[in-house]
């Protein structure tokens, strides 16, 4: 299907090649997972495989052979390409027009377009929003539309460059399910670069690991896991079951079921993990009482009788699904929106008693979900004007770049530096891990813990139980605008069966109250294998 031989590419005015001597073959119907850290050349490699997106300058050596792609038109149709940002890939204003766009370009007659668009819309389940404006769709729907708009051209091979990084976990899971269904039902060949390996790893056939532009590994997924587990960057990205099997030195487990079977081989005399308890301050940093908010008088409550008490020096995670009101709550706390009932006390003082500007001076700051929206200058240097040394991160090499040119993780850090430049005592973070790879996630977690040790109180909202467990002192669940439960991470997640960490799903019933892979591995080691 696709044969890449000794592919080397050097960007113009660079000495070292971005892609070096990469060779691999993909057979029809395979799913190939392309992984590697930030800057390992994933995007460059994938773009080299798509004729229309191949860089016009720079030096390309080696060959890329795609079966049956002789002229430009068939090449455009046969190779589908999905990019990272859902919103920006959409060209037209209506869903139906977007679906037809590619076929119009290929000069397909109108009646055939009608048939193919109808068929594709049916398969992807987008009949309900067929005549909608694209601006009314959710992020997940937008990315699904992008996928459908490419599949309508009937490609044989689909290339995806981090398609899920802008999606929330639920939309991401839906997207992966659709991909896998496409592969199973239509034998579509899929090449996907992604840093969220959890769901993909179990379904992929081959793994291509890129390290500084070189193919460090290409082969069946299970054979590659050992290499990933030793890789300094990729070991963080491994799915929880795989991490567990690696920690215990066992054969790789890819799914929760396999992880569970693996733990069943271990004894369970000691059932509860040892945990140090952190003391909680008596002073409250943020207190919400009977908070109610709605956008319009006629609309329904987004926040309804919301109560919360965050203590000083705590890292507090607020979890909840889409539309549970998490982001709205943060903007109400930050004073960007006003509740119609109830009150918000920040460090004991009511929000409306703060003088204008006083709230944002050494008191409170909000890091928005889309970090880009904080940047107003043309260089990182200018953005960091009053915030040079607030973070223990070396922005040195990035200072002269445009903020938009940084990677997702770097943008997040820059935004964070800008946010805490005002030295807030209470920091609010909106989905801080969205779009970050495992390494950046880990760095952020450490950073949050150290800022908290320095006396800052942090409240963040997230979709991601694993991240919440790794940093939070306490967690709360927001459901339909109301805080329905609030506890320390272990008891909080140990009570759940679905909305919990993979470690708990693997160890439930076998051990008690385990929520991280490390805890599970430590317990298993302490118990030893069954004889």
């Amino acid at each position: 299907m696709l044969t890449v031989k000794n592919l080397t590419y050097t960007y113009p005015e660079e000495k070292t090649p971005a892609i070096r001597d990469v060779s691999f073959t993909v057979k029809r119907g395979e799913i190939v997972l392309v992984c590697g850290g930030t800057g390992s050349g994933k995007s460059t490699l994938l773009r080299l495989l798509k004729r229309e997106l191949r860089p016009a300058t720079g030096e390309i050596r080696g060959t890329v052979e795609l079966e049956g792609c002789d002229d430009d038109l068939t090449a455009a149709a046969r190779v589908g390409f999905v990019m990272q940002k859902p919103e920006q890939q959409i060209v037209t204003d209506k869903v139906w027009h977007e679906l037809a766009f590619g076929l119009e370009n290929l000069g397909v007659p109108s009646d055939e377009i009608r048939r193919r668009v109808a068929e594709t819309a049916g398969w992807f389940g987008i009949e309900d929003w067929f005549e909608r404006r694209v601006s009314e769709l959710s992020g997940g729907q937008k990315q699904l539309l992008n996928l459908a708009a490419i599949m309508v051209m009937q490609p044989d091979i689909l290339i995806l460059d981090e398609p899920m990084s802008a999606l929330d976990p639920i939309a991401a899971t839906d997207f992966i399910d659709t991909l896998i269904r496409l592969n199973r039902e239509t034998a579509l060949t899929i090449l996907v670069a992604e840093h969220r390996l959890d769901e993909l790893m179990a379904s992929a056939d081959k793994l291509l690991l890129l390290d500084r532009g070189e193919a460090a590994f290409f082969g069946p997924v299970r054979e590659g896991i050992g290499i990933l587990a030793d890789h300094p960057i990729m070991q963080n990205a491994l799915p929880a079951p795989t991490k567990l099997s690696a920690l215990l030195g066992e054969a790789p487990a890819l799914t929760v079921r396999e992880g569970r079977e693996l733990l069943d081989n271990y004894d369970n005399k000691f059932r509860t993990p040892e945990r140090e308890t952190r003391l909680r301050s008596e002073q409250s940093a943020l207190r919400l009482k009977g908070l109610c908010f709605r956008y319009q008088r006629e609309s329904a409550d987004i926040l309804h009788d919301c109560e919360l008490d965050v203590r000083c020096g705590e890292v507090f995670a607020l979890l909840g699904g889409n539309g549970s009101g998490k982001s709205t709550l943060l903007s109400v706390i930050a004073g960007a929106r006003r509740a119609y009932a109830g009150d918000v006390r920040v460090f004991g003082k009511k929000l409306r008693d703060y003088a204008p500007g006083e709230l944002y001076d050494h008191t409170l700051a909000l890091l928005p979900q889309d970090a880009q929206t904080l940047f107003l200058c043309n260089t990182v240097r200018a953005e960091l004007k009053d915030a040079e040394n607030v973070l223990p991160y070396d922005f040195g090499p990035l200072l002269d770049k445009h903020p938009y040119d940084l990677s997702g993780g770097e943008q997040q850090l820059l935004a964070l530096a800008k946010t805490i430049a005002t030295k807030p005592r209470l920091l609010l973070l909106d989905e801080p891990t969205q779009g970050l790879d495992a390494q950046a996630r880990r760095y952020l977690a450490d950073l949050m813990r150290s800022m908290c040790a320095g006396g800052m109180t942090i409240l963040f909202v997230t979709h991601d139980p694993e991240f919440a467990v790794s940093v939070a002192d306490r967690c709360a669940l927001l459901f339909r605008g109301e805080v329905v439960s609030c506890d320390e991470p272990a008891p909080f997640f140990a009570g759940n069966r679905y909305y919990t960490t993979a470690a708990h799903r693997m160890s439930r019933g076998h051990y008690d109250g385990v929520v991280t892979v490390e805890e599970a591995a430590a317990l298993a080691r302490r118990n030893g294998r069954r004889v």
């Binding site: 798509k50 229309e52 997106l53 430009d72 038109l73 455009a76 149709a77 589908g80 390409f81 990019m83 940002k85 919103e87 920006q88 890939q89 959409i90 060209v91 037209t92 204003d93 209506k94 027009h97 037809a100 766009f101 590619g102 076929l103 119009e104 370009n105 290929l106 000069g107 109108s110 009608r114 668009v117 005549e131 404006r133 694209v134 601006s135 992008n146 708009a149 490419i150 051209m153 903007s331 930050a334 960007a336 204008p356 500007g357 709230l359 944002y360 001076d361 700051a365 909000l366 928005p368 929206t373 904080l374 940047f375 107003l376 043309n378 445009h402 938009y404 800008k418 946010t419 005002t422």
Partner: protein, 283 residues
């Protein structure tokens, strides 16, 4: 059988041209009356409301008032105010113009209800596919742009950068948001361009054009009928004068043609409803 609004937009657009052009550029009282009646009936059928009709009738007294102030021609002097005569002809001329303007207004009210942006875009697309695509991408960018600007404003506000009441700082921050939006748009334009290229845009010089609307026999008949009726109206015009004295000589063919034309949408609508009722009663 489709309702009038569901016919092919190009045919519907042509119908609107056919019904509006003969009246718009004349002061023919008969055409004005027919146009107003046809529009009013169809408006009621579409919306079940009369608000816009009452509003459009307001044009009549307003135009009468304007005309008696400006024009003192005519042979039938009704009364004299401040040494200026008010004539019946001048009142009639004003009333008739008001009627026609009101009718045109009402037809446009119907037009905006039926010709949504999608349909208009389709009509323009038949004239120029390139312009239609350009317009479609532009329509896509407008909400994207305003949403992002709003997001940026909110983010800046939540770190306290946007708040100060001072109007100068406000203008300055608004300018900064605008400048960053330009960068953002260019940045996103690159992604959109890639996405277009990846889907084969620009390989063929002639793209095909897909539209939701088909052109069926019904649409062709609508097109032909409205063309024929409009031609009939224009070829056999009524003759009328206002000044110095009012005369009106009806042309039976022209009047009949325009009457049919003005009531065509209502006729389609009513037949369709009756048929639907019949179908329902058979079930």
């Amino acid at each position: 059988m489709r309702s009038f609004a569901e016919q092919n937009p190009a045919a519907v657009f042509f119908y609107f041209l056919a019904v509006l052009l003969p009246t718009m550029f004349s002061s023919n009282p008969v055409l004005g009356l027919l146009a107003m009646a046809g529009a009013a009936l169809f408006y009621v059928l579409l919306t079940r409301r009369v608000g816009a009709i009452l509003f459009s009738l307001l044009f009549i007294p307003v135009f009468i008032l304007i005309n008696i102030l400006l024009s003192h021609n005519g042979v039938t002097v009704l009364f004299i105010v401040n040494d200026t005569p008010v004539t019946a002809e001048s009142i009639a001329y004003g009333a008739c113009n008001g009627l026609i303007i009101g009718a045109v207004f009402l037809w446009f009210a119907v037009f905006t209800r039926i010709m949504t942006s999608d349909r208009l875009l389709y009509v323009f697309g038949t004239l120029s596919p390139k312009a239609a695509l350009l317009l479609s991408t532009a329509l896509r960018y407008v909400p994207l742009f305003s949403k992002q600007a709003e997001r940026i404003r909110n983010s800046q506000r939540a770190i306290g950068l946007y708040r100060d009441g001072n109007i100068l700082t406000r203008i300055r921050s608004e300018c900064r948001v605008f400048s960053v939006m330009i960068t953002w748009t260019l940045e996103n334009g690159i992604i959109t361009a890639d996405s277009m290229a990846a889907r084969g845009y620009g390989i063929l010089s002639r793209r095909t054009r897909f539209a939701l609307y088909r052109f069926r026999g019904e649409d062709l008949s609508l097109l032909l009928v409205s063309a024929a009726l409009a031609a009939g109206t224009l070829l056999w015009p009524d003759s009328y004068t206002y000044y110095p004295a009012m005369t009106l000589l009806l042309s039976p063919v022209g009047t009949l043609c325009y009457g049919l034309l003005a009531f065509l949408p209502s006729a389609v609508e009513i037949t369709q409803r009756i048929r639907w009722k019949c179908l329902l009663s058979k079930i």
